[in-house]
Amino acid sequence: MDAILKTDVSAASRVRAATPAIAVEGLVKRYGQVRAIDGITFNVARGSFTALLGGNGAGKTTTIAILLGLVRPTAGRVEILGQDFARHAKTLLARMNFQSPYADLPRRLTVRQNLTVYARLYGVANPKIQIASLARELDLDALLDRPLGELSAGQRTRAGLAKAFINRPELVLLDEPTASLDPDTADWVRGFLARYAREAGATFFIASHNMLEVERLCDSVLMMKGGLIVDSGAPKELIAKYGRTTLEDVFLDVARHGALSESAP
């Protein structure tokens, strides 16, 4: 009986590991006549760092907003952590979190108050312990009882990151996670993200314009342009494919001349 149970459990964990953290199929978002997303399909492997790159208006933020349930897609299917997002959105959102420059936390509340509210919303078992732990990890101890509005942009970004990790998410969506941070703090935050991914086995889906950050953190890159995914691959593969030395040069090539796959017959 025990043997059967063990076999079942290990089979279940193998299936879980094989199921992508994010599976998007034929996703379309139209705003009137404008096609913000034009039928994209991609998978994000569990435990990976995947970057979504593209110029302004490429469709990155819309894609992330759809994955969070904040925008209703016109067509397509989204599966998150092996479940249909449209049907299980609220259950799945408890296992995810995000940070975006398009959403702020209430500035009149202190950092601790904000984190307490979100800890309760996400059903965190021991909010005080979790807040103390995050404050230590993100160097927020001295800021916990200060209103968010009194903090610098960089300090607010760190407070936003604390909110993004308050529920120990399995899937983290980050839009420009290190924008407005000085290089030292940004490097330190990247270290935090890598450490969290390693310890929690979490999946990261990151929209960023910081190519060095993407090169350092990400296993995989999706390049968006005009609402389409025009290329994808590991950062080193893309650099080699375009015959460039940095991902930034690849980004510029794609933005200015289009992806190699676009010009292919």
Binding site: Y31, L70, R72, K90, S100, A103, L109, Y122, G123
Partner: protein, 269 residues
């Protein structure tokens, strides 16, 4: 609007806590909640004192103006309290964070109602006590029926507040002024200070579909005739069911449209 689960009270409590933090951290906000109901009460208290000396009707029906102004405040504060609680999220660009949590729409609406209830109670309670001290009128002399009046008026206020909040979700902060405009446009139909029977017949027809006129007419029946009009209370309750359903439906429809148009991450000052 999916169902209830074990986390529902905790999530509702979290939204209420967020607003409590906001009110408790700022004494000017606290004072602002109490200030206008007290000013209104004093103003109408003196008008009533003056009229009581001029007219035997007012002399016999002491308190109808003060009672009316305080009950009107239940409706007004209920509506504005809900709308402002929602606007706070828009001002702080927090909607994206909030709606990307496991919080369900029904829980959010329930939380907004509780915040409105707290704001109304905090705002009105001092005014009701000062009315006893200044003018010798106790709103609590209405007796147990006061609870029915309060519930009926605040529920009607929530209905309008939800619709206005939905308008802001859909059309942005440009629609914010409707929070004040809607309720004051309805005020003449509500018969706050006069029986709705004096309205032109076509206006009476409009007034008859609102719950509030039955409550204000019912209050006058208690204070003037010492009669509790159960028929008025039941009519108001029935109409409230319809108005609240319309308010919730309006909010949900506007939310769905905002989600369709990608406005939940964009709304803000």
């Amino acid at each position: 609007m999916s169902g209830i689960d074990a986390g529902t009270p905790r999530r509702i409590g979290a939204v209420v806590l967020r607003h409590w933090y906001l009110i408790a951290s700022s004494w000017p906000r606290f004072v602002d909640l109490c200030y206008w109901p007290i000013v209104q009460m004093i103003l109408w208290g003196f008008i009533q004192t003056f009229l009581m000396r001029q007219s035997s009707f007012f002399a016999q029906a002491g308190g109808i103006l003060l009672g009316a102004v305080m009950l009107w405040d239940v409706l007004f504060r209920g509506q504005i309290g809900l709308a402002i609680a929602f606007f706070e999220e828009v001002y702080s660009r927090n909607l994206g964070h909030l709606f990307a949590t496991p919080l369900r729409m029904g829980e959010y609406i329930a939380a907004l109602m509780l915040v409105s209830l707290a704001r109304t109670a905090i705002g009105l309670f001092p005014a009701t006590l000062l009315a006893i001290w200044f003018f010798g009128f106790s709103l609590y002399s209405l007796g147990i029926v006061l609870i029915a009046f309060f519930v009926s008026l605040i529920v009607f206020g929530w209905s309008i507040g939800l619709f206005v909040a939905g308008l802001v979700l859909r059309y942005g902060l440009g629609a914010e002024s409707f929070a004040w405009a809607f309720i004051f446009a309805l005020a003449p139909l509500c018969g706050v200070y006069y029986p709705t029977a004096i309205l032109p017949s076509w206006v009476q027809a409009l007034s008859a579909i609102l719950p509030a006129p039955y409550i204000f007419n019912g209050m006058r029946a208690v204070l003037i005739d010492h009669v509790v009009r159960v028929d008025y209370l039941l009519t108001a309750a029935g109409l409230n069911v319809v108005w609240l359903a319309a308010g919730v439906a309006g909010f949900l429809i506007f939310h769905a449209q905002a989600r369709e148009r990608g406005m939940l991450l964009q709304l803000g000052e």
